[in-house]
């Protein structure tokens, strides 16, 4: 049991860090005193709070052995933690992304705030444990906070493995993922039948199918929701680039379209965390600011949908 004490301490410290950042406390690094507080949401199964903006690694962190690009990714992770971020998400499917994250975490001396979320992605159930261990070594961490079955691939074998890992304290949370609206029927069935802590789905201003069934079910079943593809793989930010922000953007403290798109997502009460991916440290800082300040209400959310639809 004693081996779990440092881990518990780490989690307490991380939660304290999020609370301090959330309160805009001067002890939280390195945010200006006037910074609005960081919005956090609880993971329903534990009550642990997570900042509503996390960091994805799809495409952006798959840079191979390129030392220069790896250094840039480290700067992204640094900016992310400086902005109060915690949850970083990856997958064995994302090429070198896990190793790049591990590299960045080591260079940053393993920030205490980290909430490590990864996935198991292999068609053969028997390969699951070896893949999880290989991923953990790439991240260079003692254990993952969250492991998810990637795109439900071989979930029949992987989900019991992850639940066993959780039962034996080798994992804190278990989840499943999908993207681009695939297999929502099966996602719903698993949400209804399995003891899940997290579900990860695609959701953005233009792709809102999850509002109908998955988000209400997550609330009902007390499952945390991670949102991927918040910018539709860059299509939305590219489509809106150069178009002036409407007047209402200032009302919710947005200085960029990326922030508007993120605030639309995290203002949904059933969303726990959105995970935008970027290779630009400035964008990472900008994304984290979307977790601060006023959020759009229902009327403004409708207006955001109408305006973005019109402009893209």
């Amino acid at each position: 049991m004693s081996t779990h004490v440092p881990e518990r301490r780490r989690i307490l410290k991380a939660s304290l860090h999020a609370m301090l950042a959330g309160a805009g406390c001067a002890l939280a690094p390195p945010l200006p005193a006037q910074q609005p507080s960081l919005l956090t949401r609880p993971i329903p199964s534990s009550g642990e709070r997570l900042p509503v903006v996390g960091l994805g690694s799809w495409i952006t962190f798959n840079v191979g052995d390129d030392a220069q690009a790896r250094a840039a990714c480290t700067e992204v992770v640094k900016a992310f933690f400086a902005g109060g971020g915690r949850l970083i998400d990856s997958s064995p499917m994302y090429g070198s992304a896990q190793s790049v994250i591990g590299d960045a975490l080591a260079r940053l001396k393993h920030p205490q705030a980290l909430f490590a979320a990864d996935k198991v992605w292999t068609g053969a159930g028997s390969n699951g444990p070896a893949q999880v261990e290989a991923s953990r070594k790439l991240w260079r961490i003692p254990r993952f906070d969250l492991l998810q079955v990637h795109n439900l691939l071989a979930w029949e074998a992987h989900l019991p493995l992850l639940l066993r890992m959780k039962a034996s304290n080798r994992l804190r949370y278990v989840g499943i993922t999908t993207s681009e609206g695939r297999r929502h029927g099966e996602i719903v069935r698993l949400m209804e039948s399995q003891p899940l802590d997290f579900v990860q789905v695609s959701y953005n201003v233009l792709d809102r199918e999850v509002e109908n069934r998955i988000l209400p079910l997550a609330r009902e079943r007390r499952i945390a929701v991670i949102v991927n593809r918040p910018f539709r793989q860059g299509e939305l930010t590219q489509g809106l680039a150069g178009k002036p922000l409407p007047g209402w953007a200032a009302e919710i403290g947005c200085t960029s379209w990326a922030q508007v798109l993120l605030k639309f997502i995290v203002s949904h009460p059933d969303v726990t965390c959105a995970i935008p991916a970027t290779s630009n440290p400035r964008h990472a800082t900008e994304n984290m600011l979307a977790a601060r300040g006023p959020m759009p209400d229902q009327n403004l959310r409708r207006r955001i949908v109408a305006d973005v639809t019109k402009l893209t």
């Binding site: 799809w58 495409i59 952006t60 798959n62 840079v63 191979g64 052995d65 390129d66 220069q68 690009a69 499917m93 994302y94 090429g95 070198s96 992304a97 068609g123 795109n151 691939l153 993207s179 681009e180 695939r182 297999r183 793989q233 290779s279």
Partner: protein, 230 residues
Amino acid sequence: MSEWWTYTLSDLLMFSKPTYFRLFALLNEAVWPAHLVALLAGLALVAAILRGAGKAGRLAAALLAICWLWVAWTYHAQRYAGINLAAPYFAMGFALQTVLLCWLATRRRAPAIASWRGPLGGLAFGLVLAALLLYPLFAAFDGRDWRQAEVFGIAPDPTVAATLGMLLLWRAPWFLWIVPLLWCAVSGATLMELRSPQAWALPAAGLLVLLAVFIARLRMRPLPRQHPTG
């Protein structure tokens, strides 16, 4: 995954355009001065085409075999595999083509190089020259750093383009066309997804040589027997 058909190439392509082309800069830096050897190999190919004898055909096949093996190892296996999970399979494909080219270089009947004069030979020679001279300029046309230039014998696309030209000049057996044509499709689709302006180049070369082979075969087919009239 039981729903593979719902995936588009963009779902499966796990790297960005800058990352993809940075690989060539890193590769060029790592293997320099191999470029000079590759240039000599390219010039030897041109000399072989101009000479056109059976021995020259063997030499050209052997040179290309070395180039394919070099690209399989230094590019696909050592670098591209770092960002693309499919790259080890590409390396295997390139290694297979190496074996086939070695067979061509060493088979009993020397692979004679057809004349480069005439439409078919001209197209083939043009492809080889484009692979050597035009491909390295694509980086500049795209506004990228010249260090990202794709060079024959070092990068896959110009190597494949030159090989297509040589296959046409050799009138090579069909099985030597499979890997180069598959690579035309793979590279074209990848670059299209990355929205690179050079995406059309290799698929267009592949289609052009296929069309040329098809037309040449039609011309060689004996004319249907004429019914006596009157």
